[in-house]
């Protein structure tokens, strides 16, 4: 049986039109070129790239905010350029942005979570049920009567996520959701993302430049200069330290240590990304020397 692809791009190209001071068109600047990418339903994919690599522009194609200059984007088989289906697309693929402050519309948490459902004309009782459920899912139910400015960054971002999952999307695209948060908020959001993916089966596309976050995904796509540079499981991605560094990305310290040791002639694997694995490998080689 063929796997379902929730998002599929076909030869996606996106150009920005450049204008001069008088507003005349002076040329085009290519932001994305020849992106062919399929995202399997239920997967957790990280899109990694430095600022200006085109990763956010790509994300905006996934729910029809931007339409390709050429090529196609299919969301659950629907072409995003089909304006008549735009609300189906936006309900299928929800989007969470970087700054939690700028995506909360209402003055009360629960009213904000209800926003999308009200827009879609869902009956009031059904809205109530779905809002409560969404708030419980992100563990913000106790704050339902709070005003957004009384919450911490991580809490605000979870409210924003609740506002999206209340629509019951099958996929959520997160555009650097942790970039403005402190370490605590970042942990809360990463835990929420993993839970949504593993327990609720929601497909997650996480746009980020933090390699620790990308390491938690099932698959990492590295974007550089508007092109897909690498597309593989995290272990395989992070083993290419030199290539990653050349495009302005970091690797986890565990991976870097292994790389350094290998350079010194010690035989350690090149696909270590997490701490426990690293401890075990080091323990084995150090014990063998005693």
């Amino acid at each position: 049986m063929e796997e379902r692809q929730i998002i599929k791009t076909e030869d996606l190209i996106f150009d920005y039109t450049v204008f001069d001071e008088n507003g005349d068109e002076t040329g085009k600047s290519r932001v994305l070129s020849d992106i062919n990418l399929s995202i399997k339903e239920g997967s957790f994919v990280a899109v990694l790239g430095h600022n200006g690599s085109g990763k956010s522009t790509l994300a905006k194609h996934f729910n029809g905010i931007l339409i390709p200059s050429s090529g196609k984007v299919l969301v659950d088989g629907i072409d995003t350029s089909d304006e008549s289906r735009i609300y189906d697309i936006r309900q299928t693929v929800g989007m969470v942005f970087q700054n939690p402050d700028n995506q909360i519309v209402a003055t009360i948490v629960e009213e904000d979570v209800a926003f999308a459902l009200e827009n879609l004309g869902v009956p009031p009782d059904e809205i109530r049920r779905r809002v409560d459920k969404a708030l419980k899912t992100v563990d913000m139910y106790d704050y339902k009567d709070h005003a957004p400015h009384q919450l911490s960054g991580g809490q605000k971002q979870r409210v924003a996520i609740a506002g999206i999952i209340a629509m019951r999307p099958r996929c959520i695209v997160m555009d650097e959701p942790t970039a403005m948060l402190d370490p605590k908020g970042r942990k809360e959001i990463m835990a929420t993302i993993k839970m949504l993916n593993k327990e609720h089966g929601i497909t997650v596309v996480l746009i980020t430049h933090y390699m620790e976050e990308a390491a938690k995904a099932d698959r990492v796509v590295v974007i550089d200069k508007g092109k897909i540079l690498l597309d593989d499981v995290p272990k395989k991605i992070f083993s290419q330290i030199e290539l990653l560094k050349s495009v302005g990305l970091d690797v986890p310290q565990a991976t870097e240590l292994m790389y350094e040791l290998r350079k010194s002639g010690i035989d350690v694997p090149d696909d270590i990304i997490d701490e426990e694995e690293c401890v075990q490998v080091l323990y084995d080689i150090l014990k063998s020397k005693e």
């Binding site: 936006r90 942005f97 402050d101 700028n102 519309v105 209800a114 827009n119 957004p148 400015h149």
Partner: protein, 273 residues
């Protein structure tokens, strides 16, 4: 500090007054204003005042707030008082005559009457904002104005703008605070100097604030689109405003009060007023 300013004057509570349907509260408030203007003599005016005080007690709002609500409007109250005092001419001899100033007995009574009426008006109106959250008020206004939609009046858009404004006021206040601190750290002098100098000194605060507000507006619009916002058409609401028994009772009480006041105007005659 700027962030200590409270916006709106809502005091959350769970009293019967708090729980009244906000649409009815607005309408009842209008009825109360009408009642005050119907009241033609001291007896009916004071009855209206006692009624208002009872409502205040029911709401559980501290009486101290009565004075707080009057304070900013004090100049208007004094102005009304003086205007009536000097410009009402009565029959018979003036009580005081000092150059162009003449004060008649009628002037004093009317002046006191008008002042009391204005005080009752302000205190009664502020009870509405004390007991109704801004969001409930916005909601009520949207619904009360909805017949105007037929005349292509953008009722929903207006309410949406009010909601967004309420949502972003605390955020922008906090932001202003931050920008002011940052510019002060660069030696900005925001507190001293004449008016023009002060206004000029604010430019380094206002420009970054506008830049950020536009950026926020842009991002918010995008986020709203992603959540399928398409204007007021076909929208439902999670919270239904439902009027219940208590709202009907409130309306009946108000109607009875107005009737009482009208009767008092006719049958209670106080000599001299």
């Amino acid at each position: 500090m700027l962030k200590d300013i409270t916006i709106g004057q809502f005091f959350p509570g769970n009293s019967i007054i708090h729980r009244l349907d906000s649409r009815f509260k607005i309408l009842l408030d209008i009825a109360y204003v009408v009642m005050l203007f119907i009241a033609g003599n001291y007896c009916s005016l004071l009855t209206a005042g006692v009624f208002m005080l009872i409502v205040y007690m029911l709401s559980g709002i501290s009486f101290k707030l009565i004075f707080k609500s009057l304070k900013p409007l004090l100049p208007i109250i004094i102005f009304t008082c003086i205007l009536n005092l000097f410009f009402i001419h009565g029959e018979g001899e003036p009580l005081v005559q000092l150059g162009f100033i003449t004060i008649y007995m009628e002037g004093i009574t009317t002046s006191v009457f008008m002042t009391v009426r204005i005080v009752f008006l302000i205190v009664g109106m502020s009870l509405l904002t004390y007991t109704t959250s801004p969001i409930a008020l916005t909601d009520a206004i949207e619904r009360l104005l909805s017949p105007l939609k037929k005349l292509h009046f953008p009722v929903h858009e207006l309410a949406m703008m009010m909601t967004i404004a309420l949502r972003f006021i605390p955020t922008l206040i906090e932001e202003t605070d931050k920008i002011m601190s940052a510019q002060k750290a660069r030696g900005a002098n925001l507190d001293t100097g004449g008016l023009i100098k002060k206004a000029k000194a604010l430019i380094p605060v206002l420009i970054p604030l506008f830049v950020s507000a536009f950026k926020r507006a842009n991002e918010l619009a995008l986020a709203m689109e992603c959540r399928c916002y398409k204007g007021g058409e076909g929208r439902t609401r999670m919270k239904q405003l439902k009027f219940g028994m208590r709202d009907i009772i409130a309306v009946l009480i108000m109607a009875a009060m107005i009737a009482l006041i009208v009767l008092m105007n006719i049958y209670v005659v106080i000599p001299g007023v």
